[in-house]
Structure formats: structure tokens, C-alpha cells
């Protein structure tokens, strides 16, 4: 028994050390961002935080378009999340609860599109957005990101599991499909909606390849694309770069820290390992 306690302590220590190593890059970004540029590259500065220099952050806010990029990122990600959830819930409800010709075909399309890597379509999507005049617009950033088949698949699974008796009770009271969807199926699955919203938002917020292709001017760029411009402009100025990087990551990172359990559950649900 003593051996087992010793082993437990050892394993816990090991876990803490591993977590510390894993966290080090983020820690180091913080330490760097709060130093002066001279201190960052001086040989005497160690890995312990020793300065509270805010000039990197001031520079990030006043000398870059960071605030514009925030607006673009939040705006596009919110619209994407709302549209994806609304269209997804409606589609899933029809597939799960209604009988009509072509039902299997539509579900087949949803499952097939789940297999298609969107990255393989960027060339023709770009040509299409160009034709529509959507290059360098929010519409151009948003449109190709509106297809998230996993949302329909997950919603359908949970709608399928709602007991039939609830449906019958509402129908007897004269409720139609709108009542059923908005008063019964969605409220019953509120946790799923939150989970899917979290996942869709994080994915849209962090999307790189598509927003990078469809935006060429700084005033429409999203955060992940915009901050690469700062890199080119600053050259070797790591305190400023790390300040920009931390501010860019802050909104979603802070949201994650606040809603930790919800986010981890959302990831598990969207991967189908929990529900």
C-alpha cells in the first residue's frame, strides 16, 4: 500500500511537470510581451518575469489595425454561428421528425459533405466570390464558412432521441411544426445548442486559410490574418509581436477560461464521444 501512495505522488508530480512544460510557450509569450525590446534580446534576461513594461501593448493597440480586426472577427464569427445554427436546426428537425420525398437524399448529401475537405474547394470558391464581387467583403469571408455538416448531424441525433409522447401531446394541443421546433425540440436541447455554438464560433474565429485568401486589404482582415501583417511591418520586435499575439488570442482564450467546463463538453459532444 505504501508503494502505491508513493507511486501516486510521483505520477501527480509528473503530471504537474508535464503541464508546466506544455504551458511554457504561453508563459514565455507573457514574459516577453511585458518586457522592453532591449531587455527581450539582452543576454542577462532570464526566464523569470522581471518587468511590467506596457509599451508593447500600447503599440499593438495604437499602431496596428487590431481593433478593426477584432470587429471583423467578432462580426463574421457571430454571423456564421447564428446562420449555421439556425439553418442546421431547421434542416435537422425536418430530417429527424418529418416524412417527405427526398429525405434520404438530403441526409446523404449532409453526410457526404462531412467527408469533403473544404480546403480542396478554395480555388473554385475564390473564383465564385470574385464573380459575385465578394472579395474583400464580410460576405466573402462568411459564405464558404456556412457549411458545417456536423451541426446538422449532432442536432439530428438529439432530435431523434426526444420521446415521441412529447410530440404527440403538442400536436393534440393543435401545435404545428414551428411550435414543436422552437418550443419543444430546441429548448429541450439547449445544452447542445450552446455546445455547437461554442464549437462553430471558435472554428470561425480561428479560421485562417479562407479569410487569408479572400481578404487583401487590412480593413477587412480577421484577427488571425491581420496579425501576420504586423509581423511583416515590425521586423524583429518580439515584445511588440508577443503583445499583439496575446491580445489577438485574448477574447477566445478568456472565454474558454471562464466557461472551461462548457467548452470541454462542447468539444466532446461535437466529436460524438459524449451525449
Amino acid at each position: 500500500m505504501r508503494a502505491r501512495t508513493l507511486a501516486n505522488t510521483l505520477l501527480t508530480t509528473l503530471a504537474l511537470i508535464a503541464a508546466g512544460v506544455w504551458f511554457f510557450p504561453i508563459y514565455w509569450a507573457f514574459v516577453t510581451a511585458f518586457r522592453s525590446e532591449d531587455r527581450v534580446v539582452s543576454a542577462e534576461s532570464g526566464i523569470i518575469p522581471d518587468e511590467l513594461n506596457l509599451s508593447g501593448f500600447a503599440n499593438a493597440i495604437f499602431n496596428t489595425r487590431l481593433l478593426t480586426w477584432y470587429v471583423n472577427s467578432i462580426g463574421t464569427a457571430v454571423i456564421i454561428t447564428l446562420v449555421v445554427l439556425a439553418t442546421g436546426a431547421m434542416c435537422a428537425y425536418a430530417l429527424s421528425q418529418m416524412r417527405f420525398p427526398g429525405r434520404r437524399l438530403v441526409y446523404g448529401i449532409v453526410l457526404a459533405s462531412f467527408m469533403v475537405p473544404a480546403q480542396a474547394l478554395v480555388v473554385s470558391q475564390f473564383i465564385l466570390m470574385d464573380r459575385l464581387g465578394f472579395i474583400n467583403t464580410w460576405a466573402g469571408i462568411i459564405l464558404p464558412q456556412l457549411i458545417v455538416p456536423i451541426v446538422i448531424i449532432v442536432y439530428k441525433q438529439f432530435f431523434d432521441a426526444v420521446p415521441k409522447e412529447m410530440r404527440e401531446a403538442v400536436v393534440l394541443d393543435g401545435g404545428g411544426d414551428a411550435t414543436l421546433l422552437f418550443r419543444v425540440y430546441l429548448p429541450l436541447n439547449w445544452g447542445i445548442t450552446t455546445a455547437l455554438a461554442i464549437i462553430t464560433f471558435i472554428t470561425a474565429w480561428n479560421a485562417f486559410l479562407w479569410p487569408f485568401l479572400v481578404t487583401t486589404t487590412e480593413d477587412v482582415m480577421t484577427i488571425p490574418v491581420g496579425i501576420t501583417q504586423v509581423n511583416d511591418a515590425f521586423g524583429v520586435a518580439y515584445a511588440r509581436l508577443m503583445a499583439v499575439a496575446l491580445l489577438a488570442a485574448a477574447p477566445v482564450a478568456v472565454a474558454y477560461l471562464v466557461f472551461q467546463r462548457r467548452v470541454t463538453e462542447a468539444v466532446m459532444i461535437s466529436a460524438g464521444v459524449k451525449g
Partner: protein, 294 residues
């Protein structure tokens, strides 16, 4: 009569509910998918129509050294990431699963936080840590290598470097999947086997590993697909260099279409990438299922 009318209304309502999704789907997914197939048999530039050239683009692809280099680098990257990240995630999940309460939440947070960072934030942090002159990790590299290495500008170091960055960034997701899997294993199985005198190692081999296999198969498949779509990290860290040593298929699609202005040829590359992803993931999934059953 009323029933027929009701039935018709029911069907119409169903179509109305599907309509928004199907419209968007046709516009930004179905049409581009058909269009890319059509473009791949033309000599079109990025913007504008081209002439039908049959399978010329595919013939050219087979003779293109850069295509084979990209394919090889994609394969090398899979070797560097898929199994390692799965093994690391499993190890971390086992460690985290033992902890309780606040301590568990804290440790899990430290492993998961990188996953919510935008890719360009991740690459900037690592580019700084591995900076040739001032990088905080260069002393460690010197310890192993004898002298500092410009990681992302060295043909031998660049792919392993990108693999480390990628694993650090995406591993939290896999940890969560394993944690969910571990929590689904009934506690009684461990209690019963402990009463029978099973050691920790035996418990892992006889209980944890077999019951966790479906999750392991899921993680391996998801990782295979994800890592085949490698682009962001390569573009941001090395731009495919040096000497094409980190050039991958999606990089080739990007450069052919958007820098060389060859929409037709780029479409052919994209279709091949698509085919590779589908074939490999179906193949792997079947293989893993068979292993799981025996």
C-alpha cells in the same frame, strides 16, 4: 381531402425548413465542387475561362517533381504527427484522469489552452522561441545538436519543427476525446480487477486499452484527415522551404492558383488531394475497425 391537404402542407413545410441550408450548400459547396472538377480538365487561369485540354493537367501532374516532393512531405508529416500525437494525448489523458477537482481542472486547462489560439498566434510564439539568435529554446537545441539551428530554415529540422508546433497546438482536442473515453469505462471493472490482484499495468492492458480502442481509432482517423490538410503552419513558418523541404499539396494548390495564376492545374492538384484524403481515411478506418474486432 383535409388529410391530403395536410399531407401536402407537411411536405411543403419540410422543404421550407431545408431550403436555407440547401441554397447555401448549392452555392458555396456543390457548385464549387462541380466547378473544380470541370476546371481540372481546362487550362484556365485563376479568373477567366480556359480551353478543354482533357487529362493534360493530370499527365503534367504525374511528371511534376514538385508534386511528388509535396506528396512525400505530406506522408512524412503524417508519420511525424498522427501516431505521436495520439500516444502523447493518451498519456496526458491518463495523467489528467487520475487527478481530482481543482487540480484536474488546472492541469487540463494548461494542456487545452493552446487549442483555442489562432494558428498565427501559435506560429508567432514558436518562431520567437526558436529564433536563431535569441530563441529561448536554442540553448536546448545546442545541448542536443552542439550548436543553434535556424529550425524553420533548415531542410532537416523544418518538418519535425512544424510537427512539434502542430502537436502542441492541436493535442488538447485529442486529450479531451481520450478523457471522455476514459470516463465512459465503468469503475467496477477497475475495482473488480484490483480485488483480483491486477497491477496497474495489467489493468491498462486488459481493461483500459481494449475499451478505449474505439476512441483511439477515432482520434487516429481524425488526425490523419486533419494533418493531410496541412497548410497554415507551413505557410506561416517556412512558406514551403527551404528548398521545398516543407512543400505540401495544399501549399502547391495555393501557389499554383494564387501566385502562378493557373486555376486549371491547381484544380487538378486539389482534386488529387481530395482523393488522397478520402481513400486514406476510408482505408484507415476499415483497418482500425478490423483490428478492434479481432
Amino acid at each position: 381531402m383535409a388529410i391530403i391537404q395536410n399531407r401536402r402542407r407537411h411536405v411543403l413545410t419540410a422543404y421550407a425548413l431545408l431550403l436555407p441550408f440547401l441554397l447555401i450548400f448549392s452555392l458555396v459547396f456543390l457548385y464549387p465542387a462541380l466547378r473544380i472538377a470541370q476546371l481540372s480538365v481546362t487550362d484556365a487561369s485563376l479568373i477567366g475561362e480556359g480551353n478543354f485540354v482533357g487529362l493534360e493537367n493530370y499527365r503534367r501532374l504525374l511528371a511534376d517533381r514538385l508534386f511528388w516532393t509535396s506528396l512525400k512531405n505530406n506522408g512524412y508529416f503524417l508519420v511525424l504527427t498522427v501516431v505521436p500525437t495520439t500516444a502523447i494525448a493518451l498519456a496526458i489523458a491518463l495523467m489528467v484522469n487520475r487527478l481530482k477537482g481543482r487540480l484536474q481542472a488546472l492541469v487540463l486547462m494548461m494542456f487545452f489552452l493552446p487549442y483555442v489560439l489562432p494558428v498565427s498566434v501559435v506560429t508567432e510564439i514558436w518562431a520567437w522561441m526558436l529564433d536563431f539568435q535569441f530563441g529561448v529554446l536554442q540553448p536546448l537545441i545546442s545541448l542536443v545538436n552542439g550548436r543553434p539551428v535556424p529550425v524553420f530554415r533548415n531542410p532537416n529540422w523544418v518538418m519535425p519543427g512544424i510537427a512539434v508546433v502542430t502537436i502542441w497546438w492541436t493535442n488538447g482536442f485529442n486529450v479531451l476525446l481520450f478523457l471522455a473515453g476514459l470516463r465512459n469505462i465503468p469503475r467496477e471493472l477497475y475495482e473488480a480487477s484490483a480485488l483480483d490482484g491486477a497491477t496497474r499495468a495489467q489493468q491498462f492492458r486488459r481493461v483500459t486499452w481494449p475499451l478505449l480502442w474505439p476512441v483511439t481509432a477515432l482520434v487516429l482517423t481524425l488526425q490523419l484527415i486533419l494533418q493531410l490538410k496541412l497548410f497554415d503552419q507551413v505557410y506561416l513558418l517556412s512558406e514551403g522551404g527551404p528548398f521545398n523541404s516543407s512543400y505540401v499539396l495544399l501549399m502547391m494548390v495555393y501557389r499554383t492558383a494564387f501566385q502562378l495564376n493557373q486555376g486549371g492545374y491547381a484544380s487538378a492538384v486539389a482534386l488529387v488531394l481530395f482523393a488522397v484524403i478520402v481513400v486514406l481515411s476510408v482505408l484507415q478506418y476499415q483497418l482500425l475497425r478490423i483490428r478492434g474486432r479481432s
